[in-house]
Symmetry: none
Subunit: 206 residues, 4 copies
DNA sequence: GATGAATGAGGTTTCATTCAT
DNA sequence: AATGAATGAAACCTCATTCAT
């Protein structure tokens, strides 16, 4: 008798394989065969779990998003100050470890794919709603604490989230080392500008 | 070898068709046949001017970039203040006309393609060098005028350019109307933060 | 990877089809579609077993050679005299049955193809090494028996093998009936010249 | 007014180009473009002189034959002995100069092409009639002189012509140097066997 | 006479999908 | 539950041929 979890396990195994292949070789040239090879199963099995390639891709993007979200959850529940949580959040996207980079690759491919796919566009709405909410909640709590300047949290959140995406792309496309350092300067600047003066001074002195 | 006069015309005709198709239907499903149809010529003719599909794509991205640049050149030579030029520059990317949107579509596809293509990555280096230089020159001249606050022009330029890209993506993927208005708020905020106080106050009062 | 049992069968089926098509319609106009039709499978299946047309052709030539060799093996192990084996060997190439003619067609196409393909040239080296060895072994054993005149077996073998090829070509290109008879006269002459006198006299008297 | 010879000149220029391309790259991959490039004219001009590719090929093979024949004409009219003329004739085919090798390449491609083309097969009949006649005339005159043994001149001619073709192929496909030397041994053997004894002894002593 | 831009039929090859096992 | 052999539609690309200049 098969373990009840076998399906969930297999699906995870396949979706992880999709993201790895997309990250390594891009979405345009993604073949079901490549996914099967990466997951060490047959193409027949891939189709056993996902009716069409389209389904497979949609599911893989969803899975990538769920994992991205998972990795940031702990940041929100931290006891630290709002500014620290904001910095931790931004930092989590600027990391240069394999997992973060791979995930960004998938995101970049996702955007291009979503431009012409209503289902993916809907997924994007959900995703960016999440990101924006997370950031504006932190800002709002910072404003309540008195550590973050007044101003529309939605606008401030959009600024941060937008800058993260835009700079991430250039980071992926450019020479790793330099970009990473430059990007950190940009976000220090942005976050410092949101802080009330004392905090700002403190940071500058370090 | 085709005669220069005909060749230049035909190449332009074909490259325009590529960008139109990429913008309409995406890069992943781009077929040479579609390009030929759009340009109202035969597939054979497409291959007469571009050996491979790869060459065609590379050339189309270059062409898209050249046009994007061309459209911004006049902004730099304006006699207005640095802050006005900065606003005009940013505005030129936030426009919602067909041409601007089409161009952004091509850029989004370009990034994804460049992730796995060294030649395109090199093109990206050139392109973003240009954008960053343009913005930081304006900032530098504003600082000389005394209308823009001191601070590393490179960091400020990166912030703006990054935010433009990131917000453009979300604008492309989201519901047009709302996004456009929100994005303008973000950039007002960003540019105001760069202005020296009197100017800033003035803007807020409008 | 296909299961060995099915794979061997299918490959044989396809290679046989290639040789049939080459023999019927020539190598220059060989299309994968023709091969697929002849083997009663789809073009996709042909490529399932042979990556490229080039691979397919190379394999078909190898297969044709293996079969040519197989058909001659029994001649070598016969208990008859060296001269008889020599005659049987030569005869086996002069036969006008469909299989022999088809095989010659493939050989002729092979030579032309090999002129510009190092891999095929290497295969030719192997093949002609085999033919020359077979013939010179027979001659050597005939000299040991005392039925064949002394002389360098390599030179005698080259003479026979060369003449076989050259006359076969003309036989393929000319009117069948006459050529066949003429060719037999040529080889009778050549072999008689190799025999020691008594045998020679005997043959001439028939 | 154009020189009357311009057509003949151009045709010769093109046919020479065809033979060069066939010799270098083979017949299977022969493109009209290659011929045009080699002849330093446009593809349009090639078609101006030769309606179709088929016509072009046929004409090129004819031209190659005419030149091959031309190169041997002087041998026949020599005042030397029949055996010497026979040796000169055979030698003329075994030479390893560029022209001879190129010509053999064209012949090999010709045979393969002729297998499936009645027009080329007819040309072959004419050609081989010529070769056989040339050789058997020499043999006949040698027999009249008393320097060549009795025997059907047709059979002896076929033996020589056949061996020349067969060994030439292997020479083209194998390592040049060795083959050439081996081939000369074969023909020495064949021609010696045709000589009456005194001559034969003489040759062996050299 | 000569050109070369343009064509489009047709070739090889790819790959998502199916289905018997 | 899983496979992998087999498919065939469709993609890219080639190239002989045409024709306006």
């Amino acid at each position: 008798m098969p373990r009840p979890s076998v399906e969930a396990e297999r699906r995870e195994q396949i979706l992880r394989a999709v993201c790895e292949v997309v990250s390594d070789s891009g979405f345009t040239s993604l073949r079901v065969t490549d996914v099967a090879e990466r997951a060490q199963i047959s193409t027949g099995s891939v189709h056993y779990y996902f009716e069409t390639k389209q389904d497979l891709i949609q599911a893989a993007f969803e899975w990538n998003f769920a994992r991205s979200l998972e990795r940031r959850k702990s940041i929100l529940s931290r006891k630290s100050s709002a500014l620290d949580r904001l910095r931790a959040y931004v930092d989590s996207f600027l990391r240069q470890d394999a997992q973060t980079i791979a995930s960004w690759h998938v995101w970049a491919e996702f955007w291009a794919a979503a431009l012409h796919d209503p289902d993916l566009r809907e997924l994007n709405e959900r995703v960016y709603g999440k990101w924006r909410t997370m950031v504006s909640e932190i800002i709002r709590s910072g404003q309540a604490e008195g550590t973050i300047r007044p101003g529309d949290p939605a606008v401030l959140a959009d600024t941060l989230v937008g800058a993260i995406d835009g700079l991430a792309i250039q980071s992926l496309l450019g020479s790793r080392r330099t970009k990473s350092r430059q990007n950190r300067a940009v976000f220090e600047h942005l976050i410092d500008a949101m802080a009330v003066d004392p905090e700002r001074a403190h940071v500058h002195s370090t």
